[in-house]
């Protein structure tokens, strides 16, 4: 009897859903992405080429300042929530396939170059915890005794991260038998974020507590802190900072790259060879993200509260602002398509995500979203240091 029933179900299933089964079975993830809906603790799964929302998944907890990395096969998104939750989402089925509350309060994560380990940086308790990407079982824990920021993956199954309170950069080697970490002191006062160059060589921490940034050469056996752009504020009184800038995406074009100045309405151009200042551009407000369009022809900048209704586009050759857009209230994040033809922009207080053509600057699509913040496309799975 049971066998007959099962057979009946199978036949019914085959008859009723052949089209769906076929598309589900053959869907790829290369054009998928996720959008964080920060206030409702939900995540949208999107198709970036169709400009379509495929699914809304709930149950991620507090997603303020959430970030995402992808499994090496770009099927799973690891979502890092502010409340310490680490959640794995299957982009093909929309199912949550694992969730751990790994700390009380966290800030971001990274995945190792081999895709085997996921690391999370925490404010409380301070430090980094590392988990098996398949099972989400704990693998290692690094107690830095301080709020920990700027977590990136390094080649060779390593992670680098930096402490806000104590100005240390830790390099944890998860390929070593004892999982040891090297601690480099003297990074500077209150590093607020850090980024890694696409070749994995330069790790640069931005400083809130002093005028300048610190670079570590990760190709060096014993990296030494190198202060770059010291005194870039040139004694000018810094403005109140209502939102910390993010250092994400190495905005390099030719021989120079760009960084947000903290407390000033400027972005700073840095010589990519010797890390000296190579110019600066006055912009609309205090930059939060200064991200290069893939290929490096433009840099797109958004701004801190209360000037956060604007986006500016800089030409990387001239360093000049070539376009000013007003997407709407609270522009929080930008994500480029992997080849840079489009950029997605979250406009939190308008409740939309906008898609712009990066050649014409035309608005080409708009998707509804509930307090959208971070946007993450699966192409990130294949890039170092995100």
């Amino acid at each position: 009897m049971r066998r007959v029933l099962a057979l009946a179900c199978l036949i019914l299933g085959l008859i009723s859903a052949p089209a769906r089964a076929e598309t589900d079975a053959l869907r790829s993830t290369g054009n998928l992405g996720v959008i964080i809906e920060r206030a409702s603790g939900s995540v949208l799964i999107v198709d970036r080429t169709a400009h379509a929302i495929l699914d809304r998944v709930e149950g991620f907890g507090d997603l303020s300042h959430a970030s995402v990395v992808f499994s090496s096969d770009a099927r799973f998104a690891f979502v890092f929530g502010r409340d310490g939750g680490l959640t794995r989402l299957d982009l093909l089925t929309g199912a949550i396939t694992g969730r751990v509350m790994q700390a009380g309060n966290s800030i971001g994560g990274a995945i190792s170059d081999d895709g085997a380990l996921v690391a999370v940086a925490n404010y409380k308790p301070g430090g980094v915890r590392v988990f098996d990407a398949d099972t989400l079982e704990p693998v290692a824990s690094y107690d830095t005794g301080a709020k920990t920021i700027g977590l990136v993956d390094l080649p060779g199954r390593r992670f680098a991260f930096t402490t806000w309170d104590t100005g240390e950069t830790w390099i944890a080697d998860l390929s070593a038998p004892d999982l040891e970490a090297v601690v480099i002191e003297g990074i500077g006062a209150n590093p607020y974020d850090a980024l890694l160059s696409p070749d994995g060589r330069s790790y640069i921490a931005g400083l809130f507590g002093e005028d300048g940034l610190t670079r570590l050469d990760m190709w060096d056996d014993t990296p030494e802190p190198q202060r770059i752009l010291p005194g870039y504020g040139r004694g000018e009184e810094p403005l109140p900072v209502y939102k910390m800038p993010h250092l994400e995406g190495w905005a390099q074009a030719g021989d120079r790259f760009v960084l947000p100045a903290i407390g000033h309405h400027e972005v700073l151009w840095v010589d990519a060879k010797d890390f000296t200042e190579a110019g600066r551009t006055k912009v609309h407000g205090q930059p939060v993200f200064a991200v290069a369009r893939p290929g490096g022809r433009q840099v797109w900048v958004n701004f801190a509260h209360p000037l956060n209704d604007t986006l500016q586009v800089l030409d990387t050759q001239s360093g000049e602002v070539i376009e000013t857009l007003k997407p709407g209230p609270a522009v929080l994040h930008m994500e480029f398509s992997p080849r840079g033809n489009e950029v997605w922009v979250s406009v939190r207080d308008a409740g939309v995500v906008q898609v712009y053509d990066t050649e014409s600057f035309e608005l080409i699509a708009e998707l509804p979203a509930n307090d959208p913040s971070g946007i993450f496309f699966t192409a990130r799975a294949h890039r170092l240091g995100l």
Binding site: R38, A39, N105, I107, K124, M244, R348, D349
Partner: protein
């Protein structure tokens, strides 16, 4: 010259209007979203400290109002005086002390 004076007058008028009536919906959203950047959407803390009512029980509204307006020098807490009126800062201080 005349144009400049009109513009200046207009700029002054905006905060005066705002100070008469703090807008609770606007301020609550500001607390959740913009204070939340550092203190968490649920005010459990982040780069900045925990701002839940029970964690602030040793504070009074005037002390909090002062911190909101003038910030805490040497820390990441900025002065909000350029963006908020005293009445708005007081409303936020009360909100933090009384709202879960």
């Amino acid at each position: 010259m005349a144009e400049g004076r009109v513009l200046a007058l207009a700029l002054v008028a905006i905060p005066l209007v705002a100070s008469a009536e703090p807008d609770p919906a606007h301020l609550e959203r500001l607390v959740i979203q913009d204070c939340g950047s550092c203190h968490g959407l649920t005010r459990k803390g982040g780069l900045g400290p925990d701002l839940r009512a029970e964690s602030l029980s040793h504070w009074d509204a005037d002390g909090l109002t002062e911190i909101i307006l003038d910030g805490i020098p040497g820390t990441a807490m900025p002065p909000w005086r350029p963006l908020l009126t005293e009445a708005e800062a007081q409303w936020i201080a009360q909100y933090l002390l009384t709202t879960e």
